[in-house]
């Protein structure tokens, strides 16, 4: 019997010809990542060496990476002191893969690692963060561990008593419809298999829709695999992996590219056809409480958050910027955008996305994790409803147990920012109206986004409206917001964006857009 992707990686990492699910192994670790919780790792690391008479030295400083992202710049003296303690430790130990609070090379750890070429296919990567699963997007076996376990890795350079996980094979077919994104696929999957459906297992992604997907999209899938309980998500490396590593991450050295054996043994096989997939929403307070967008359309949202290690990349920001360009965020709704890394932030600046977002009313924040887990900025009020492209909606997740968090794709976030209520991006008006489209832009753009979008509108309009959630439990604070709520709840799917269609056509944009809505390939 052949080996799955993770079995092959663990065989390689232990120098064995083969391992199988259930075996207990001690794989060497290729990269060990921590963020501010490195402060606890340092503490536990010192504990290990206590009374041994040995000097506490990490096994290999070149294999340790530290990225400050959770509370940057520090929100309290306590955090600042932890960060200082880590900096001092790094210098003493000679650890160079360090990303401090900087505009040139800072960002969220799960963006920095791929971006700087620290992740390689076929390697074993551990991180003191549950979303370390992200790096499976580049064909690594990457999983989250606690701080004490990391201290042990720092000391020994290998994992202790790791049980080789079984694998769930997910084959994804079809082409993503307009405004349906990898986030919708992973939310759909989590809803299907539940928050613990993949506990102690790896999810291996296959199929034409994965082959056609950019690394950015694959990072979304692997990132949120942990929300189904998975030890890791993994995409067997292919031409796109190589392209990303060479062109975007600047990796020069030889890559060890391999996939699973054709006759590998899987615990479970799941097939998904994305061509019929609708945008998905994870409703409070569990990530597996997933509904199709039309079941929650109309819920008023006070705050929309776009960013995080899940959906804070350039293509995510491009979608939101292209929808909001020349329009306004609904009054009574706050839109916060935080790019996943400062490199992405700078690219978004160059492309004009940041200006488009700010002119629309968005608040653009520095790269970091802050609002996603309620540790730094963007806290919610009692009774607030939030819609976020982040990864968790547990009670209290965004800093207030008396608030409700919905999770969605950047496309849903953008559409909802315009209306102030959860909205279906497929019912958006054409993104670029004829009047505002310069001839030069039309020329070389075979994608004809306008046509595609129109089609989508028609198709959706024909569908009978499924159950509408009319749960607008709160008294909307301001009148204009109230109007919007009523309208879109009453009118159901037909043309909830009618108002927005008219506005821009009456007042043609000053700056004609050259951009097509960015779609993942």
């Amino acid at each position: 019997m052949g080996m799955t992707m993770v079995e092959k990686i663990l065989a390689k990492a232990t120098g064995q010809a083969a391992v199988k699910a259930g075996d207990v192994v001690e794989p060497r670790i290729d990269l060990a990542m921590s963020h501010e919780n490195g402060a606890l790792v340092i503490n536990q690391f010192a504990e290990i060496y206590k009374n041994t008479g040995l000097e506490a030295k990490v096994w290999d400083p070149s294999r340790i990476a530290i990225i400050f992202d959770h509370r940057v710049p520090a929100e309290s003296s306590k955090t600042a002191t932890n960060q200082k303690k880590i900096r001092d430790f790094l210098i003493r130990q000679g650890i160079r893969k360090f990303h401090d609070i900087r505009g040139d090379e800072g960002g969220i750890c799960h963006q920095i690692l791929p971006e700087y070429g620290y992740v390689r296919p076929g390697t074993v990567l551990v991180g003191t963060d549950s979303h370390t699963t992200s790096h499976g997007a580049l064909g690594a076996f990457a999983f989250g561990i606690g701080a004490t376990e990391m201290a042990s890795v720092w000391a020994l350079g290998h994992g202790l008593n790791v049980e080789v996980p079984g694998t769930i094979k997910v084959t994804v077919k079809g082409k993503f419809p307009p405004f349906v994104l990898p986030k919708d696929l992973i939310l759909f999957l989590i809803g299907k298999i539940s928050a613990e459906g993949a506990n102690f297992k790896v999810i291996e992604f296959h199929g034409p829709a994965i082959r056609d997907m950019s690394t950015s999209g694959r990072l979304v899938l692997c990132n949120m695999s942990v929300e189904a309980g998975a030890t890791s998500g993994i995409v067997p490396p292919d031409a796109e992996t190589v392209r990303y590593l060479r062109e975007e991450a600047g990796v020069q050295d030889k890559l060890d590219l391999f996939g699973p054996d054709a006759d590998a043994a899987y615990d479970q096989v799941i097939e998904v056809d994305v061509s019929t997939l609708a945008p998905q929403i994870a409703c409070p307070h569990k990530v597996d409480n997933v509904k199709s967008v039309d079941q929650v359309t109309g819920v008023k949202v006070n705050q929309i958050v776009v960013g995080s290690c899940t959906n804070g990349r350039l293509d995510d920001i491009a979608i939101v910027a292209s929808v909001l360009k020349g329009r306004k965020v609904a009054k009574g709704t706050r839109l916060l955008v935080f790019p996943a890394s400062t490199r992405i932030f700078r690219k978004a600046l160059q492309k004009g996305y940041i200006a488009d977002l700010m002119e629309a009313g968005a608040v653009v924040m520095n790269s970091g994790c802050g609002p996603c887990l309620g540790v730094h900025q963007g806290a919610l009020a009692d009774g607030d409803f939030a819609l976020a492209t982040t990864n968790r909606n547990f009670k209290g997740r965004m800093g207030n147990p008396n608030a409700e968090v919905y999770l969605c794709s950047p496309a849903v976030a953008a559409a909802s920012a315009l209306t102030g209520v959860i909205s279906d991006p497929r019912t958006l008006p054409p993104l670029r109206l004829e009047s505002e489209k310069p001839k030069a832009a039309r020329k070389g753009q075979a994608g004809a986004p306008k046509r595609v979008v129109k089609k989508a509108v028609k198709r959706v309009a024909k569908k009978p409206a499924v159950k509408r959630v009319k749960k607008v439990t709160k008294k909307p604070a301001k009148k204009p917001a109230k109007k919007v709520v009523k309208k879109s709840v009453k009118k159901a799917t037909k043309r909830p964006f009618k108002k927005q269609v008219k506005k821009p056509s009456k007042k043609p944009l000053k700056k004609p857009s050259l951009k097509t809505p960015k779609r993942r390939k």
Partner: protein, 164 residues
């Protein structure tokens, strides 16, 4: 014999056990004050020392899902509570084993707040109902760590063997 002090549902996340906003506090000696901080009454009882050591938290499936924050295990361990759950999320379970938190996997557990339970011969016995429920052993791969009294002493032993 110990008393069930609280009964919780499924998918109790680390955000419930140890809210993210207290994550700057890392030391096991300091984390217990924020244990279940958003369940204010339970947190108050803990801090007022109204809950004796050895008391039991009973939970449904997937206890400790979410973040890898070790504070979620260390804050419960700090109050010396035992957790009996139908099952645990992977990272939480490993953190708990590494720190030596008293935990029991009991897929069929039935107990209410106030019930007295005891663990006898691989079973949880609920003295209030008289029923017994099978315990599932912790992953055997981790038994050596449990036997050593946690991951720190276990790793220390490994290092000394290596250099020895």
């Amino acid at each position: 014999m110990a008393k069930v002090i609280i009964k919780l549902g499924a998918d109790i996340s680390t955000d419930i056990i140890y809210p993210g906003r207290f994550m700057a506090t890392v030391l096991p000696t300091e984390t217990p004050q924020y244990c279940f901080a958003d369940m204010s009454e339970f947190n108050r009882q803990l801090k007022a020392k109204e809950i004796p050591a050895g008391s039991v938290i009973v939970a449904d499936k997937n206890f400790g899902c979410g973040s890898s924050r070790e504070q979620a295990a260390s804050c419960i361990k700090g109050w010396e509570l035992k957790v009996i759950a139908k099952d645990f999320a992977r990272i939480f379970m490993q953190n708990a084993i590494n720190l030596g938190l008293d935990m029991v996997i009991c897929p069929a557990i039935e107990a209410s707040e106030g019930d007295e339970v005891e663990i006898v011969g691989g079973k949880v016995r609920n003295l209030a109902s008289g029923k017994e429920f099978d315990i599932v052993a912790l992953p055997k791969a981790r038994q050596a760590i449990i036997d050593a009294g946690g991951l720190i002493p276990y790793t220390r032993k490994k290092i000394l063997e290596k250099r020895g």
